[in-house]
Symmetry: C2
Subunit: 245 residues, 2 copies
């Protein structure tokens, strides 16, 4: 049986996230499974590299599926390109080892959160960037981000309600850059809790606005309570950039 790895780009604006839901919710996974099932005549199950929130985008989402189909990769790509909606593109596919699993094998992921910190929104990227017209102190945000690097219990930085699931994660780096008022927060970690990047971003923005001090973030981390951290930043500014295996 073939095991095919896919790299997928999507504009998440109108989707309820990656993950298939009960009922008729519009999700990226269900769109792709439907097209692959029609293409192969099999009931294809796609394994994604992880969930993404409703409204979050991806530049290089990785997924895999098993099939008995003998179609060429090129023909599959053409078929998907033709039948997927215009906000989802399977950019590349390749036959991979039968044991490859898009979720279990993830080593790390890189997310980018984009903020337009100019006076006015830019109409051309308005669906992919969070517009915030309030001067931010980037130096303080960078200092605050350094507190989060490493292996910590990120319970304060997730919307996850359960107390039984492990909430320790490792953040390898956070890069915060600014170019003409466009701020990018790049976060790389081994895996992420529900809403974690958006809550980290929301907390760093509170630091940038001066509502929190950089060292307050250490206290927030130690408190292990969601209510201590900043608000969740809007989904549309977040994009899954790279998944490493």
């Amino acid at each position: 049986m073939r095991n095919i790895k896919m790299t997928i780009q999507y504009d998440g604006s109108r989707y309820r996230g990656w993950q298939k839901q009960k009922d008729l919710e519009l999700t990226i996974q269900s769109k792709i499974e439907n097209v692959l099932s029609k293409m192969t005549g099999e009931e294809v199950q796609v394994v994604g590299c992880g969930r993404t929130d409703s409204g979050v985008h991806a530049e290089n989402y990785i997924a895999n599926f098993h099939t008995h189909s003998i179609m060429s990769i090129e023909a599959m790509l053409d078929y998907l390109y033709e039948y997927l909606p215009e906000d989802i593109v399977v950019k590349s596919m390749k036959d991979t080892g039968e044991r490859f699993h898009a979720r279990y094998n993830v080593k790390s992921k890189t997310y980018i959160y984009r903020i337009n910190n100019n006076s006015f929104r830019d109409v051309f990227n308005r669906r992919y960037v969070y517009h915030l017209n309030e001067k931010l102190n980037l130096d303080d945000m960078i200092k605050a981000s350094e507190v989060l690097i490493g292996t910590h219990d990120f319970q304060s930085f997730t919307s996850l309600k359960s107390n039984t699931k492990p909430t320790v994660r490792t953040i390898n780096y956070i890069n915060i850059t600014e170019n003409n008022g466009m701020i990018e927060i790049e976060v790389n970690g081994n895996s992420f809790l529900l809403n974690m990047v958006r809550i980290i971003t929301g907390t760093l923005l509170e630091v940038g606005k001066g509502n929190l001090k950089p060292l307050d973030v250490e206290k927030i981390l130690n408190e292990k309570k969601r209510s201590e951290a900043g608000p969740i930043a809007p989904a549309k500014g977040l994009c899954l950039k790279i998944v490493n295996y």
Copy 2:
């Protein structure tokens, strides 16, 4: 009476172009006039730097209007930002000399036509870029573009039907560049005929595909017949970049 100059950015996707139409057609001019009229309590008429086709975008469209309002520029900008739809932004405004006229005073305009020449569309710019999956010969396109530089009768390159209006125009330069499969055709001229940049682009694309030779463009220019030139390139790839006064 004040004369106020505005710089406007818009995503033209859902509009019937800049210019106000009879009836209830959705146009950028009518949207802005409505908001300015409510803001000032006067019946404001906005003078634009020229028409743009249905579906064409602008990064820095210039317009002006007269008003007796004593509102500050900052308050006006805030009002417009609040009440215009999210695909139109007035980026800046300033009081200007009473004789300034956004259309009559134009010295030159620069348009950009964007083509994605990779295998697949990029979902994030799909509304602003024409996707063409057919290898293009850029060198030939550049040679062909050189034929068009200077002052010529561009009758072959307009959808304008009238034989009585002058069709001589001056193109100052055409720059064709490529970066990771994204091709930009930048055209600067003193003024443009109806659909001129899109028909020039459509013709250059025929050269790029090998359906025309670079020197055929000279023949097309000399024939002065629309039917000789290439097809009109899709509106969504075109963007008015700069207007010089």
